[in-house]
Amino acid sequence: MQVHLRTRSRAIDYAFVNSAPDSRWWDTYADWTATERPCLHAVAEDGEGHWRVLLSGIPSVRTDSGGRLIYYTLVLEGAHDTAEQDAAIVLSLASCLLADLDEDEQGRGVLSDLLDGVCPAPEVDRLLAAPSEFAMERKDLTTRLLASVASLEPLPRDAPAAGRATFDRWIAGRSAPGASAAFLTRLSALLSGKEHGQAHLLNLVSEAEDVAELFPGRLAVLVEGGMVGDPAMPLERLPEPKAPSGPPAPPGSSGAHPKVRWRTPMARTSLAALILLLLLAGVFWIFGVPF
């Protein structure tokens, strides 16, 4: 499993501190979430053989030079055949994020303390100030980070809402009864490769309509509800995505009116030529021209 940590220092803007992921795959979901507030994306799509998870908006105690909140983003990537321990780590992180949000509307809690402990301000300042140096320190940070997140205990959760959580596609507020448990169950299935699809905790979504175009497959969405939406929104089944409209029917195959074929330019031209020929024949006949 690979783990990438992003934050900022007092002076330098957001960047990955230990190592950067190969792609910014989470940009696909930029319309549905603001990474500066607590959110989570989990993607395990058919045929890829691996999963990707992003947790963002985890507040730090540090502030930037303007006194603004600094937050962390964690990007985790692994294969389905990875050790069970990795999946357990991701599940613990996700359950901690949800538990922290239950306790504090900004999401300050266990994860904030853990990441602040792993990344003291002087180290963040030093690593971000020299992006091409300190390779050993970055490696060491990754090791410490993995060890710290591995020490997290998964939090006990309510049982998933019976029946409803088995929907292929659903949306619910994160504090709706059974919603978080259903979300973690889906996340677990995605990580193990038993299911393919996506699971998201989104903070710019308030209704099922908002996620109509998010993803056409199996989808679980939790509404974060801090600034937009209701965190207690009851679990709701999402409609199946609309099938793409097929190619237009070939002309003439849709049972057009039988008279239509007599209105085509070719038919009209042929008719006009026939009339002209008859007229000429009549003229020649009247004037006795032999033909």
Partner: protein, 382 residues
């Protein structure tokens, strides 16, 4: 919009500033203030183009107002930006079915500072740069506190802290792009933000308006020169903005910060000025400027389209009426070709009249927008 002949007006507005200047706050304030102001007026209204943008505006606005709750300024509630995001908006002249769509891009200011260095966001920064270069309007928010509190000992570092060089590079690309489209309006607005402490019309005891403007012109002289050379037709404006109107500077000190230019960074502290009511100044002028610019761009586009369609309609009519001899005419009539040409000519005439009507409506909207008087804060820089 299923009619392919219907005119579509789509524009971009780019913001150009390094990290921590307040791009996100300016966008949030601009949209919420813009909606309020335009709703009071009768000529145009500003709406989110889709539900998700509506949610994004609500999120940004709640963050800004939340930071001022209980009359205590809490920047802690306003996190910075780490990923790009788009605001898709519609400007709709009332009484006319002429939506003008425009997009605003918000992005991490650090990307501008280091030119997208780093493999993880180089490609995304290139997309952002392309968006900025293609924008009809460029807004350059400038941290007025940084500008005014640099003092002589840090004056040499000010250009680097303001990212003037990086701004110049993007402006140059934008200006070249605009020069190639000289028929379209182009505008750059230099907006010092957080100006509450320096302007007397927002309740400050000191009036440093002249000094502030002088500093902007001085620090951005190379950018202004680039604009004059590469896009002389571009309108360049100066408009200082009070981000909150009720927050003022208490202290600003330079502290050691590794990684910042010269390894130092200005750290300001603010307080809420009683009674703590948000009273932003300058934003109404900015939204008014943007509306005029966008409607004017739409008008010019419509005018060009109308001219093209008029020529097409004239040609189609001449072709439909063309006499080609008795037998040929008889043939055209009998074969239905004459009728087909007639129908095309009529459709082309209709499209021309639609474009002409759109242009006329946009003229009316523009005239109505022009009636609003700008505040004395707004100046020309070109």
């Amino acid at each position: 919009m299923t009619d392919t002949n219907r005119l579509v007006f789509e524009y971009k507005i780019g913001l150009l500033a390094p990290s921590q200047v307040g791009k996100s706050t300016l966008i949030a304030s601009l949209l919420s203030e813009g909606q309020r102001m335009l709703n009071r007026e009768t000529t145009v209204q500003l709406t989110a183009a889709d539900r998700l943008t509506g949610n994004r505006i609500a999120n940004a606005d709640n963050s800004v107002t939340g930071a001022l709750k209980a009359r205590v300024f809490r920047p802690m509630l306003m996190p910075g930006t780490s990923d790009p995001s788009w605001f898709r908006l519609l400007l709709e002249p009332r009484g006319h079915d002429l939506p003008i769509r425009f997009d605003i891009l918000d992005y991490p200011g650090g990307w501008l500072e280091n030119g997208g260095e780093g493999p993880e966001h180089e490609q995304k920064w290139n997309e952002c740069e392309a968006f900025l270069a293609d924008s009809s309007v460029l807004i350059v928010p400038i941290d007025s506190v940084l500008l005014m509190e640099a003092r002589a000992e840090n004056a040499a570092l000010l250009t680097a802290h303001l990212a003037v060089f990086q701004i110049k590079q993007v402006v140059l690309r934008w200006a070249k792009n605009r020069r190639e489209r000289a028929g379209e309006p182009a505008m750059v607005v230099f907006c010092p933000v957080k100006c509450e402490t320096y302007l007397s019309d927002s309740g400050s005891l000191q009036d440093q308006a002249t000094d502030l403007k002088h500093q902007v012109v001085d620090q951005f002289s190379e950018v202004l020169e680039t604009l004059r050379e590469a896009a002389p037709h571009a309108s360049v404006r100066y408009l200082p903005i009070d981000t909150y109107g009720c927050v003022e500077l208490v202290s600003a000190r330079w502290v050691q910060r590794p990684g910042a230019p010269g390894d130092i960074k200005l750290e300001p502290k603010y307080r809420v000025r009683p009674p703590g009511t948000i009273a932003r100044k300058g934003l109404e002028d900015l939204i008014s400027l943007l509306c005029r610019q966008l409607v004017d761009s739409a008008r010019m586009q419509s005018e060009q389209t109308a001219a093209q369609r008029e020529a097409t309609a004239r040609y189609s009519r001449e072709y439909a009426d063309l006499r080609e001899g008795f037998f040929r005419d008889l043939w055209l009539k009998v074969s239905g070709e004459r009728g087909r040409r007639e129908r095309i000519a009529e459709a082309d005439q209709e499209h021309y009249l639609e474009a002409h009507e759109t242009t006329r409506s946009l003229f009316d909207v523009l005239a109505a927008l022009g009636e609003r008087r700008s505040s004395p804060r707004l100046h020309h820089l070109s």
